[in-house]
Amino acid sequence: MKPMVEITNVNKYYGDNHVVKDVSFSIFDGEFLTMLGPSGCGKTTTLRMIAGFEEPTNGSILVGGENVSDKEPFERDVNTVFQSYALFPHKTIYDNIAFGLKMKKVKKEEIKERVTEMLSLVQLEGFEKRMPSQLSGGQKQRVAIARALINRPKVLLLDEPLGALDLKLRKQMQIELKRLQKKLGITFVYVTHDQEEALTMSDRIAVMNGGILEQLGTPDEIYEKPKSKFVADFIGESNVFEARVEEVQKGALSLRTETGTVTAKNDACVQNEIVYISVRPEKLQFSEKEVEGFHLTGVVKEHIYVGSFIRSIVVLQNGFEVKLNRLAGSDLPPVASVTNLYWEKEHAVVMHSRQHQIFSLIDNVDLGEHYETETAL
């Protein structure tokens, strides 16, 4: 697949404020890529740099192989759907959608044809003469999408487009957007802070935090194999333990946490390294007896029935609350009893902590391959 958007070593400063830190990644042609992260993580700034509303302090942005870094927004083959819709309040729906084509001096008959086509695409036939103020939030959003798509952009940028809609409409629009993207085959770059939205819609997700690109991967990779503590915490729910590698056997690690010993699959770890282990609540299991490789006990605090599953909270000796999701109907230890916890070793994700570098240096251990991959991140 050829890249449609190439972002290379892009930095953005607002005065002394470094909001996007050396971000590099490519977006493929026809891909639905989501930039996900908490507010202030630099995702919107990155999007606005692709659109041309902000200029990167340094680095380059290519769209369709062409360097657009110092081009004006009106010179770029990308269009944006704004969070606030930004429909022109003094123009009818027809004129709003036709605006881009009018600017390109497209013939009137063709404009009419294409506006009609767009209105049917977003299911707003018959709304031509209305004013934006007469539409609901969801309808405005459709107009905003139609207004952008009518220009047949190479890339459609969407800045939290569903942020202002209620939950039900949001879900519906998620499905519609995804369908639209598949049908048109246009590259979508989507910004959201909603991880569920990102997981359900995207081909790939770029997780950002504090101006840094934490991880780029498919929803599956991001969820199953988070590369950092932040990603594990931010995407879905997770129990994250800090641990030190005690022993490296073939294929397995023995790790010591503050409250006991656990096991995980080896992932380029070295002895004495400090790592984070992330285990999803649905992967954690109760056991009456101690399971081989595990010495992790806690007191059952409560079971909460959440429809299809039961959410259990177990408190470890250091006060850390572990979350478990078990299927309703499975055997559960009674509240206030002491229980053993374990997981299948392949269900634990080991993440190299940033501390390990210092740790390794002190212990004078060979840094190995993972050190390079870590710094490359």
Binding site: A51, S84, M103
Partner: protein, 289 residues
């Protein structure tokens, strides 16, 4: 009994609203009604008012001499308004897009002259524009002109004085409407392929037109009536509706005619404001409240 209860119920309202109502009654409503009443009275030979209903005053308003004055006055007000728009728009636009501190400074520059009596400021213009004035001396010294230009006591001088005096009334509503403009709309226009000039004519200008309209009303109407500007800078060569009204009350001692003229001016004003609100303008944006 019922009446008493009702009175008790509305007492708080009466107490709180009354001072304002009384204030408005004494200072605005009563004088206005008085003007309206005497506009239907006639002038006594001694210059007083004879209260006998007549439409004579309104009839006189249509005389050829007066029509000429209205025409001139409207023309001056029109030019004043148009020139004010062209001066104020770039200024207000710049102000709305400036940093907070710069905005405050610019705002002060607009407002501070307000704190000096406008008569004194107009006298300042007199010393600039006069035959022996600053501007003529400067141009003569620079050998650009040989004879002093006749600038003072001309119609352009009146327009200049009007613009100068009324500029803040144009800048402030314009600033308010430009500042309110959603910047995302400009980004959207640019995103959709509009160059800056197109963004301006398709988005900025139509969306700030209420500000232009508000400013125009605020400038046009006073420009019809600011007699002191034409007195000082027009030197009596330029008669405005304002001068006409003033003369009726002063020199001619014909209050009923002056009152009739005032009433017509008030009605014109109200019609303009009505049009303004009809096209979607807000009374608050006029800044009169």
């Amino acid at each position: 009994m019922k009446l008493k209860q009702r009175f008790k119920k509305s007492l708080p309202k009466l107490v709180t609203v009354s001072p304002v109502s009384i204030w408005l009654l004494i200072l605005i409503a009563i004088p206005l009604v008085y003007v309206l009443v005497i506009s239907f009275a006639s002038r006594s030979p001694s210059g007083g008012i004879e209260f006998a209903f007549t439409l004579e005053n309104y009839g006189k308003l249509a005389s050829a001499d007066y029509l000429k004055i209205y025409g001139q006055s409207i023309l001056i007000a029109f030019f004043t308004t148009v020139i004010s728009i062209f001066i104020s728009y770039p200024f207000a636009y710049h102000m709305a897009n400036s940093s907070k501190t710069k905005r405050t400074i610019l705002m002060l520059l607009v407002i501070v002259p307000f704190w000096t009596n406008s008569l004194i400021r107009l006298y300042g213009w007199k010393t600039i524009l006069g035959t022996e004035g600053v501007l003529n001396n400067l141009l003569m010294d620079a050998h650009i002109i040989k004879e002093p230009l006749n600038m003072l006591f001309t119609t352009p001088a009146v327009v200049l004085g009007m613009c100068y005096t009324l500029l803040p009334f144009m800048i402030l509503p314009l600033y308010a409407s430009i500042e309110k403009l959603d910047r995302a709309l400009l980004e959207a226009a640019s995103d959709l392929g509009a160059k800056r000039i197109h963004s301006f004519f398709h988005v900025t200008l139509p969306l700030t037109s209420p500000g232009i309209f508000a400013g125009s009303i605020m400038v046009f109407i006073p420009a019809l009536g600011y007699f002191f500007v034409s007195d000082l800078l027009g030197g009596g060569n330029t008669m405005l509706i304002g001068n006409l009204i003033k003369n009726q009350f002063n020199t001619s001692q014909n209050w009923p005619l002056g009152a009739a003229l005032s009433i017509v001016l008030i009605i014109v004003t109200l019609i303009l404001v009505k049009i303004y609100t009809k096209v979607g303008g807000k009374i608050d944006d006029l800044g009169v409240a």
